[in-house]
Amino acid sequence: MSTVNKPRSEGGHAFHFDNAEHEFETSKFGIWLFLCTEVLMFGGLFVAYFLFEHKFPETFIEGATYLDWKFGAVNTAVLLLSSFTMVLSIYYAQNNKTKQCVNMLFITLGCGFIFMGIKYLEYMHKIELGLLPGEMFSFTGEVGASNLGLYFSTYYMMTGLHGSHVLVGMGLIVWCIVRARRGEYNSKYFTTLECVGLFWHLVDLIWIYLFPLLYLVD
């Protein structure tokens, strides 16, 4: 029981675990279960997307033409890069390089800001044009397919829920930066960093699917 009072960064662990490794593995298991719930939550939207896409193919093809794939592609690259820097921050923590770890986290956070900035530009553009969800749809241009509002409902719901996860992820990364700067992460302890990383990768994963589904429909 001597390890109970040691801080985690020196290999300590909570009283109800056998050792630090036990705690690390359990935390990771918990985070994976939580990720599973996130996948299911987004999954509901994906299911709705596939159902409506199947019901109104023309609507979705036309809807996608109002989106600029270049924004989507850049955002994809930005998120992939941020995932890369995220794993690097863990990599540096594992190698006891606190400074590089913090730097990588800052880059990840920056990528988050870029992503949200681009998202903001896209949203503003669409709101100006009246490309709004469902019954708020007020686009005045030429419209071919029916129920175009439904496409934008799926667009806003999916990107909106995703965007809110990016924001939550950014908040968590800020928390990690604070802890990393205090030198809490090293080869003995990086559990929270790892868990936040897993969450951030999931956000990336979802975008990997959203990009072709929303921007490149045919």
Binding site: E21, F24, W32, Q94, Y209, P212
Partner: protein, 103 residues
């Protein structure tokens, strides 16, 4: 310490490059962008590439390749449950006998 597996930097770098390359590929084969048309396979190709990308992220960035296979089972069964939801609702929608007004 299985959970503390340290993956070499070069692996991460290569995965990132592969992911970026696949992103470019996705765009390149998308009909609205390049006009490339494989008919019914367009959708499958797009989803296929996305799944390869997702697989890379999960295997290396999320370390599934090195980790407890239980996590993989969790994610796979999750996706199966979603497929079930989609599948049965699709069966319902596709097999509803339409009733028409006769007035």
């Amino acid at each position: 310490m299985s959970g503390h597996h340290i993956i070499p930097f070069s692996v991460y770098r290569n995965v990132l490059l592969a992911l970026l390359a696949l992103t470019i590929l996705t765009v390149a084969v998308a009909k609205p962008v390049s006009g490339f048309d494989a008919g019914v396979f367009n959708f499958l190709i797009a989803m296929g590439i996305a799944s390869v990308k997702a697989g890379l992220v999960m295997a290396f960035f999320m370390q599934l390749k090195y980790d407890n296979k239980l996590y993989l089972a969790i994610i796979v069964s999750t996706v199966l449950f979603l497929a079930l939801l989609f599948g049965i609702v699709m069966i319902d929608w596709a097999s509803r006998a339409p009733v028409m007004s006769t007035l």
